[in-house]
Amino acid sequence: MGKFGETFLNWEVMAQYAPKIVEGFFVTLQLAAVVVATGLAAGLAAALVRSLRLRLVNFFIVAAVDVLRALPPLVLIMILYFALPTVGVRLSGFVATWLALSAVLAAFAEEIFWAGILAVPRGQWEAARSTGLGFLQTMRHVVLPQAVRLTIPPLTNRTIAITKGTALGATVAVGEILYQAQTGYSFSYNPSPLTLGAIAYLILFIPVVWFGRWVETRFAWKR
């Protein structure tokens, strides 16, 4: 047990790298926040455009969503970070990770929002339009409030899964928790920084998972 503690819970090493891990914690938070904000916004926008029922536009939306749902996020990050420079487009690790994860979240969110919008009975549309409400007004006041309620459980789950993907940024040198932990491990040749990183992730994500579960149960039986 002593040796295990010395290896994985070496206080000296942990104290040495704790500031870096805290730095990484905030980078992770930042990255997760922008990914969620842009991803959900883009997904909602795409779902709204899809409800305009323009054939050609829909084809591209569905194609893009399918591609983004089928590709592993890490492959997308690698393509943005390593493949684009060969044609002159140089993105930073943070931007590459943000774009890739937002795009993937947007794709999943679009599907979820779209399914929600479809689930609202057609009669609601017709009634709203017949009282003189425009397309956007109908969306805003009648359809979306009902649709969103159905979408919250799957959306929360998917969002949480994507935010855990921020750890992938470590592979393209984004200074988030895993990157700092890994660097600390390489320099000190002691896995304690990894333990510290793991603890940081748990502090971040266990409350998030509990929140997600609370949201699921709260919205479970509503129609």
Partner: protein, 223 residues
């Protein structure tokens, strides 16, 4: 346009690197074939354990599931791949990856199975017991078969996620598809291998995505 084709769709380089990509693809397939059944069965075990009457055991299972759902898979993988050798246990890369995946996926599959089992009306359980079947027999012959039919879309959806997850094994130098593509790319200074890997993932996973899109719509609509 010319440069784009040379940079991303270079036939010469594709021909050169094809054997490596093929080897990587086989490794990804092997990893999937090992990890998915382990995860599904492991998840079923976890779900069955969560049905026990012993409160401490139920609490333990809930903690296990929460822990591994909150922990980013890449961090878990690094911890096991880099940290475990320090305890004297030197696992080959494949085993370390399989272990990390088993821990992660069994918690996700466990939640899916648990939801399935708990959605079966209690009357089924009571009726089965009252005809003389033991608890185990009831589970095996009455509850789980019915639960399986209900959770198949979710199992497939999660399996898709697991296949995409295999790409993170490239970070610990397991020679699967993404790793092979990255190696080929850094050796040839050309992004074609990575684009090719992306296309391979797309071709393999897109049909599954299409299949799931249908299930999802039905699920959200029926809520």
């Amino acid at each position: 346009m010319e440069t784009l084709i040379n940079a991303f769709f270079n036939i010469g380089i594709l021909r050169e690197t094809a054997p490596y990509l093929w080897a990587g693809f086989k490794m990804t397939a092997l990893l999937t074939l090992v990890v998915v059944p382990l995860g599904v069965v492991g998840g079923l075990g976890v779900a069955l354990l969560s049905q026990t009457k012993a409160k401490p055991l139920r609490w333990l299972v809930a903690a296990y599931v929460d822990f591994f759902r909150a922990f980013p898979p890449l961090v878990l993988l690094m911890f096991i791949a880099f940290g475990l050798p320090f305890t004297g246990l030197d696992l080959p890369a494949f085993a370390a990856v399989a272990l990390a995946f088993l821990l992660n996926t069994s918690s996700y599959y466990g939640e899916i199975w648990r939801a399935g089992i708990e959605s079966i009306p209690r009357g089924q359980f009571e009726a089965a017991r009252s005809t003389g079947l033991s608890g185990t027999q009831t589970m095996a012959c009455v509850i789980v078969p019915q639960a399986t039919r209900n959770v198949i879309p979710d199992l497939i959806s999660n399996t898709l996620e697991v296949v995409k997850l295999t790409s993170i094994a490239s970070v610990v130098a397991l020679p699967e598809l993404l790793y092979a593509a990255r190696q080929a790319q850094s050796v040839t200074y050309n992004a074609t291998p990575i684009i090719a890997a992306g296309i391979i993932y797309l071709v393999c996973l897109w049909p599954l995505v299409r299949l799931l899109a249908r299930f999802e719509h039905r699920q959200i609509a029926l809520h």
